[in-house]
Every structure is written in structure tokens, then in C-alpha cells.
């Protein structure tokens, strides 16, 4: 076998964090006929890649993410993680929801340790990791606070720590910053980038903000609705680590303008649906 053939064969072997979404359809049965949430979705994500999934509300972003998470199943097609078909939630996956879903009856540290507790792993072994994550994301000293004493941004930071606790190879985030004010959102975008740069894992990040999608991602998947499908995949070639000021550079605004035009051409964006 020649060297190039060897490399090609090697590249065909899926790496640990690779996500392959192949010809996925998803229809929900409904009273007034069935709803097609996803139609022929094909995506291949390399391990360690940060991919934003961008689209107007109702285009199937959450459905796609839930299928990758093994919380729901495609009607057609297949999804694999590291070459293994996903038929139950993968063990090395973390999920961050739009609402932080912190448990009110647990303090911050126990909320972060929840996955460890549910998987019956030794708490004392994971507690240092939990504390380190909280520190990394700016919540040192808040371990014993209760969720209702925290601001929305702090709560979502705790939820991110919880998802990162068991060091997942795959991190799924469904509009995690959608409910936060613009400034907190900027802060969390930077912190998420730091976390990802310090320990590259595959991230699928759902958002309906064009600039957030571009700012964070290596690639942006642009989705359209009725039926939900991927209309374009845009590689973002901006140096990292990115600072907030990157958003004022011509390169960045070009990406944003390009995507906005794309949405306009699909009749989605007439000013309000997608920011």
C-alpha cells in the first residue's frame, strides 16, 4: 500500500469524537398530518471541531441535536459517534439546554456533580475536577450557593460545568445563551471558547444568532425550514483565540453578510427571524 493510500484509509476510520449524520429524516406524527422536522440531513463533523448550527426557530435544530444525543431517533438514516451508531445517549456526551435546568434542591457543586452521582462514580474523585471547572469559568467560591441565589448567566455557567464534568468527547448545546442579555452572552461566548481551546472536544452549538454562530465556530451549518434541511456549510477561517473585536473586522462582517443573504434568498429573513 502506498503512503497516500494508507493515509486515505486512516482518514476513513472514524476518530473518537467524529459525528457522522447520514441521510437523516425525522417526521413527527401529528393530528393534522405528520410534521417533517428534518429532511435528508447529511453532516460529517471531525473530532474536536466546533460546529454551529444556525437557523430560524422551528427549522429542526433541537430535533437534530436530540437525535445526535440519542434522546430521540431519526425516522430514516443513521447517526454515528466515533463510528458507533447512537441508539442510546452516548456515555461520553454532555448536553447544555437553553434553560439551565439546575436542580433547585442541590447547591452549585452538587448540581455540577449530578452526572457523576447518577452514573454512580466516586464523588470524591470528581469533586476536584468540578471545583476546577467552576474556577475556570469564574465561579470559584460559589460552590455552596443555591441556584436561586445566582443570576441567569451564572446559572448557565454552572450548567456548562455540569456538562463538562465527565470530560465528554462530544458537547451538545441547544441555544444555551438564548435567554441571556447581550453582555452576559458575549462573556459566555469568550469563556466557552477558552474552555474549548483548553481541551478540544467536538461541539455542536445550536443558535439563531448569526454573529454568535460565526464567532464561535470552525464551520457554520445553515438550516432552513419546512422541511428542516441544511442549505449551506460555511467554514469560518478566523484566527483563534478570537476576541470580541473580531466582530468588527471585514472578514467577520463578510461571513455575517453572506449568511444573511443566504437566509434572505430562502425568504426567511425579513429583518426579525434571525439576528
Amino acid at each position: 500500500m502506498s503512503e497516500s493510500a494508507q493515509i486515505a484509509a486512516f482518514e476513513n476510520v472514524p476518530g473518537a469524537g467524529d459525528v457522522r449524520i447520514h441521510a437523516v429524516d425525522k417526521t413527527y406524527p401529528g393530528r393534522s398530518g405528520s410534521v417533517t422536522a428534518l429532511k435528508d440531513v447529511n453532516v460529517s463533523v471531525k473530532g474536536g471541531e466546533f460546529v454551529s448550527i444556525l437557523g430560524p426557530s422551528g427549522c429542526g435544530k433541537s430535533t437534530l441535536l436530540r437525535c445526535v444525543a440519542g434522546l430521540d431517533h431519526p425516522s430514516q438514516g443513521s447517526i454515528t459517534l466515533g463510528g458507533q451508531p447512537i441508539d442510546a445517549p452516548p456515555l461520553d456526551m454532555g448536553f447544555v439546554f437553553q434553560r439551565d435546568v439546575l436542580l433547585d434542591w442541590l447547591n452549585v457543586i452538587n448540581n455540577v456533580l449530578l452526572p457523576c452521582k447518577l452514573k454512580k462514580l466516586p464523588i470524591h474523585q470528581w469533586k476536584p475536577k468540578a471545583l476546577a471547572l467552576l474556577k475556570l469559568i469564574g465561579l470559584a467560591g460559589f460552590e455552596h450557593r443555591r441556584p436561586w441565589e445566582l443570576s441567569g448567566g451564572m446559572r448557565q455557567r454552572v450548567a456548562i460545568c455540569r456538562a463538562l464534568l465527565l470530560n465528554p468527547t462530544l458537547l451538545l448545546m441547544d441555544e444555551p445563551f438564548g435567554a441571556l442579555d447581550a453582555m452576559t452572552r458575549d462573556e459566555l461566548n469568550l469563556e466557552l471558547q477558552d474552555v474549548w481551546l483548553s481541551n478540544a472536544k467536538t461541539v455542536l452549538f445550536v443558535t439563531h444568532s448569526i454573529s454568535e454562530a460565526v464567532f464561535l465556530a470552525d464551520r457554520v451549518l445553515v438550516m432552513s425550514r419546512s422541511p428542516g434541511r441544511i442549505v449551506d456549510v460555511i467554514p469560518v477561517d478566523l484566527p483563534r483565540p478570537r476576541t470580541l473585536s473580531v466582530r468588527e473586522t471585514p472578514a467577520f462582517t463578510k461571513y455575517v453578510a453572506h449568511i444573511r443573504q443566504l437566509f434572505e434568498s430562502f425568504g426567511i429573513l425579513r429583518g426579525t427571524n434571525v439576528r
Binding site: A69, L71, L103, D104, L118, R146, P147
Partner: protein, 260 residues
């Protein structure tokens, strides 16, 4: 935040006390001016004196009533909670037990008191049974609601780490239902007291309900009032204990409520 809410609670308690004192003063004054016969309306001072003449006697009867109330309440809490879990997890129980409970709830449960006396005699057991019957519905209904009202995202969170159904019950559904359970408990504790008194009214040799009925038979109205005052104090204390427990067990809920 804590200081504020404590101050609010303090203010509210103070205003309730003020209104109560004003009411008693008005009553005392009215009795002193209008001089109704004592068997119609005794003055608050007379009622207080009556309580002072035989405190141990009143206490022993109060203890009987408290015993029946707490036993009935505890049974309602325990069995009601177990029934609620069964109803939430089993279609069959939902269609039989829950449907039956809802249907039977339209019967005024006090009407069942004479039956319990026939079945269980005039002792403590029949009082506990009436107390239980009248209190259990509130527990079951509120607990079922609490176990069911789970944030779908929280359920997904648990499933995303492959939590078992038992873990979902113990670590999610149960703690989530606590605020609902306490709402049910607050209704149930008052109803349990009503049930105990109702049982004592029908047939008994002891308890504040017995005191009221016996005193009424001999027109000792002051004694009736003394027992009623004790019942009022008792009801308030029992309710307050449940409130304090709620504060200790689910502070997040208390804090949400105070904010809104």
C-alpha cells in the same frame, strides 16, 4: 433579600396580632356594655378565667384531639404519598384508584363519621379514621400533580446521562414534588383537625369535640368558647409547624414565592 422577607413576615404577624387584640377588646367592651346572659355570650375575660380554672383538664382533652389529628394526618401523608406514586407510575391505578378517589371526593367526608363509629367503636381509632379520610385527598391530588409537573428538559438531562427510572423518581420527581406536597399538607393538617373534631362530635368520651358537645348539653357556653379558643390555637400551631417544615425542607420554593 432574607432581611426584607423576615421583616415582611414580622410586619404581617404584628398586624394580625393587632387586629386580634382589637377584636377581643371590642368583644369585651360589648359584653360589658350590653351585658348579655353568660350562656349566650361570655366575655373573653370569662373565657380566659374558665381556661385558668382547670388547665390540666383542658390539656388532657386537647392531647386526645391532637393525637387523633396527628395520627390521621400521618396516615394520610404516608398512604397518600404511596398512592400518588402508584397512580403516577401505573395506568391501572390511575384508572381505578384515582378515578375512585375523585368520584368519592364529592361526598362530604364528615357524613362518613357515624359509619366509622359503627365499624370501629367510640375510641381513638374511629377519630383517626375520619381524620385520615378527610385529609388524604389533598395529599394524593397535590402529590400526583407535583410528581407529574417535571420540566421536560430536566427529564432529558437525566436521560442524557442514562439515569434509571428509579433515579428519576428519587432524584428528580420526588424533590420536584415537595412544594406541591407541602401545599397539600397545609390543607390536609387543617382538614385532619376538622375530621378529629367531627369524629368526637359523633361519639366519644374525650377530646375537645367531646368537651364542646358535653358543655353545650348543659349550657356551659363559657366552656364551649374555651374549647373553641383552644382549637383555634391548636389549628394555628399545627399549620405553623408545617410552614416551618416547608421552609426547612424546600427553601427554594419559599424563596420563589416570596419574590413573586
Amino acid at each position: 433579600m432574607y432581611d426584607n422577607s423576615t421583616m415582611e413576615t414580622g410586619k404581617r404577624t404584628l398586624s394580625v396580632l393587632l387586629v386580634l387584640v382589637a377584636f377581643l377588646a371590642f368583644w369585651q367592651l360589648a359584653v360589658m356594655l350590653l351585658r348579655p346572659p353568660e350562656y349566650l355570650l361570655p366575655s373573653p375575660v370569662a373565657v380566659a378565667k374558665e381556661l385558668g380554672t382547670a388547665p390540666e383538664w383542658y390539656l388532657s382533652h386537647a392531647v386526645r384531639t391532637i393525637g387523633a389529628t396527628l395520627l390521621g394526618f400521618a396516615a394520610a401523608l404516608g398512604l397518600g404519598f404511596i398512592a400518588a406514586v402508584g397512580i403516577v407510575y401505573s395506568r391501572i391505578l390511575e384508572n381505578t384508584l384515582y378515578t375512585l378517589l375523585v368520584a368519592l371526593n364529592s361526598i362530604p367526608k364528615i357524613a362518613l363519621a357515624p359509619l366509622f363509629i359503627i365499624w370501629m367503636g367510640t375510641g381513638l381509632t374511629s377519630k383517626v379514621a375520619v381524620s385520615f379520610t378527610i385529609a388524604v385527598f389533598a395529599i394524593v391530588v397535590d402529590t400526583v400533580l407535583g410528581l407529574r409537573s417535571i420540566d421536560p428538559d430536566a427529564l432529558d438531562l437525566f436521560k442524557s446521562v442514562r439515569a434509571t427510572p428509579l433515579q428519576i423518581l428519587i432524584r428528580l420527581r420526588f424533590p420536584n414534588s415537595l412544594p406541591y406536597l407541602f401545599a397539600g399538607m397545609k390543607v390536609a393538617i387543617s382538614l385532619a383537625l376538622v375530621g378529629a373534631i367531627a369524629g368526637e362530635f359523633v361519639a366519644s368520651q374525650a377530646g375537645l369535640g367531646y368537651v364542646i358537645l358535653a358543655a353545650q348539653g348543659s349550657f356551659q357556653t363559657t366552656r364551649v368558647f374555651a374549647a373553641i379558643v383552644l382549637l383555634g390555637v391548636l389549628g394555628t400551631i399545627l399549620f405553623f409547624i408545617v410552614e416551618v417544615l416547608e421552609w426547612v425542607v424546600c427553601p427554594w420554593h419559599v424563596s420563589h414565592r416570596e419574590r413573586s
